[in-house]
Symmetry: C2
Subunit: 201 residues, 2 copies
Amino acid sequence: MLGEPIRDRLAERREATRREIVDAAWELARDKGLADWTLRDVARRVGMQAPSLYSHFASKNAIFDAMFGQAWLEYESVELQSWQGLPAAPRKRVLATAMMFFDFAAADLARYQLMNQRSVPGFEPSPESFAPSVRVVERAADDLASLGITDRGDVEILFALIGGLVDQQHANDPGGHSRRALLARAIGMWSDGVGLAAEES
Amino acid sequence: MLGEPIRDRLAERREATRREIVDAAWELARDKGLADWTLRDVARRVGMQAPSLYSHFASKNAIFDAMFGQAWLEYESVELQSWQGLPAAPRKRVLATAMMFFDFAAADLARYQLMNQRSVPGFEPSPESFAPSVRVVERAADDLASLGITDRGDVEILFALIGGLVDQQHANDPGGHSRRALLARAIGMWSDGVGLAAEES
DNA sequence: GTCTATACACCGATAGAC
DNA sequence: GTCTATCGGTGTATAGAC
């Protein structure tokens, strides 16, 4: 019997092609709008005919699904990378986490629309692509719980605040970061409201 | 010379037909998704052939434009109707206004997506259709100013809070009103943060 | 003037040859 | 795995009947 090859060159090649397709779709999404591109656009960009894409993705929505999963994995990676460096003082810690999300969300409109708004008609993420986003939310809730914020309502108010300011950033000052200062002020109000301590206990 | 007729029956008929078309589009939007309907769908519902719609609207986006303007006019009407009955006490007044908007926004996902999110690819409202939404925002800002809230940042934090909770309502409990209680708590935090008085001064 | 009939260019998707 | 050919459906456009 033949043993498993060290590297599966075929699978590597397949994965690289899928990556090329997804990257091309991201470029188009940023350029023309999240969903304002066609399979023929993507195909041209990767040097294929449109139907050939179906050897790698079952549908246009399957490409969106890969984009969705990738975006949340990317944020999860940013988050885990910054985890150690976060302040321990509760108020500063919440603000730093919120700003991390805000910066990521404000940096790319198309990505934010795909990740956080249901703005592609007919598209719903698969459970596998959805998993990273669930982990991110759970990790945030756990961290807040460790700071004494156990009321689910307080957590959701915080999320609403951040999401609302990201929306405003994109709607009223796209590409800018004017709402970053407001976020600090708003998080301050929230911290007061939920009685979050300034110093580590 | 012929005088102006008392009623322009032709114009009335035209306006009624436009209304029929827009109403049919709303029904389809609520049923299948904001943009997940075709001109042929609308035409079938009003008993026309699809191309006949072009006698009344220049494009599908023109129908969206009429829907956009109508939705904001409708909210403005709700607002003006409730204006007299609003509490004079600052905190209660802000909460009542916020809840009015929240209820309107939470009641109809498709309408909210059209009014407050840019979720139809390629559609931007015309200045005429946009006007009512500008008036609503200005009226809210003026009313807040009369309560002593003059900092634009504080106003935007308030708007972000309301919008964020409406988003959450639609995303996590569509058709429900679970975030209504959170809105009250959140507005309380905000009122504390901006130093809003409880009683009329 | 309003609607019907017809057509166009383009879309996502599929079938089958190589 | 990629190609060519093609499908049904879409928004849009226009010619012409009434």
